[in-house]
Amino acid sequence: MATLGSAGVPLQSSVAPPASASLSAMRTPRHSLLVRVTHWIITLCFFALLITGSEIVISHPRFYWGETGNDLTPTLFRIPIPASRRLVPTGYGYTLPDQNGWSRALHFQAAWVAVLTGLLYGIYGLFSGHFRKNLLPRKPDFSWRGISADIGRHLRFARPTDADARSYNLLQRFTYLFVTFVLFPLVIWTGLAMSPAFTSAFPATVTWLGGRQSARTLHFFVSVALMLFVVVHVVMIFVVGFGRRMRAMITGRVSTPREDV
């Protein structure tokens, strides 16, 4: 996971590493091999899921709340696009080509790869200390002052510091924790809650969400949230230096901002 970027004046509270530590940090990879490999697999899966998910939505761009909903019932909201099915009342006089067959197949296959990769990442993160060291906020930063200072640096688009080249800043940690432990599980849950067979064995997974159509609507919103994360994530990579961050996520090699200036 590349950086959301930040910088400027190092916090008073953060411990400035000695020069030698900075040198050795340059030799140790910013991202471990497992983090890099799982990152790119998940990236591939994300785009496969996004494209096929959008394609599936096109067959019925109407959303509902509760258990049921169809062309004859009122919607919660609808996306004002034409549909790939003739009977959907979209207001457009034409239908788009139906791509649901392969879209669904690729959607589930990519979901499998993403879930298994996510599990591998989760087990690794737990046992290697990756979550504890890199994702849980560092104690000295975890204060209102620390948080507001980090937000301030992000808002000013301040240049990354040496510390940023070695590890994640506070907002990054919050964001990655939220994506990994909230959005990712939610998108899997809401997806499974649409399976008539899965919910036959585990009915609570759909009743807790308020019904099948609620699950579908939530699945859509969580996907939008994930998409927004990816947009911000990529924008931040460009802000802090595309080449540097891509290199770090592909080779693991770290270069401090100073080297590149």
Partner: protein, 252 residues
Amino acid sequence: MNKITRRKLIVSAFATAAGTTGLGVAARLAEKYRFVPPDHGGIYGPGETMTYAVQRLLTRHSMAREFPRSAISARPFPNEIEAPSETFKRLQAGKFVDWRLTVDGLVDRPDSFSLDQLRSYPSHSQITELACEEGWSYIAEWNGVRLSHVLNTVGAHPQARYVVYFSMEPDTWESIDMADALHPQTFLTYAMNRDDLPVAHGGPLRLRVPRQLGYKNVKFITHLTVTDSMKRFGKGKGGVNPEFGYAWYAGV
């Protein structure tokens, strides 16, 4: 930096051996426990197989959610059907008295049944949700005879693996495995919301398999075949929808 130590070599050799053996064993077990769907080929085969295998592990005997009568949708959406054929119109004019369901394949007593015969068998009801792969859904009450009852009546052979079902609509057919075919909620349904099954909803006879999506709930059923292999049917993928790229197993 990454020196290959003896320890690393031994560990990776063991891991590779275990991995290969594991895959071989998994493939054997998958075949033995019938976890491989007919549409396991092609680039999406691994995903389909994973989904089907896990679903069969988790949901072989589970029951589709049932709802109270108050949850029944006021306006169930009937999806598009093809214009009825002349044969269908003729049968409809005769109130479907001449409608026949033929059952053959791996059975002791191949037979054909009129609707009255099917109605004379123990009737069951379910209030379940029909969900389309497009995303929409509705809840209705269905009445019908359990498919398992018909299969027992004709004496389906123990080596049977699939029930293939054909519609009066041309080139419309699907199949399910025995776990779904013998499931107590899998009906040959002739009534919906306490009335004759409307033609728009597949009347006079529709296969209702509530743990799978709408497209497996084929309308206008006229013919069932019990088989141990899907190879002889169409392209061998288990249905007409799989031939258009849709999953054979539609429990997701």
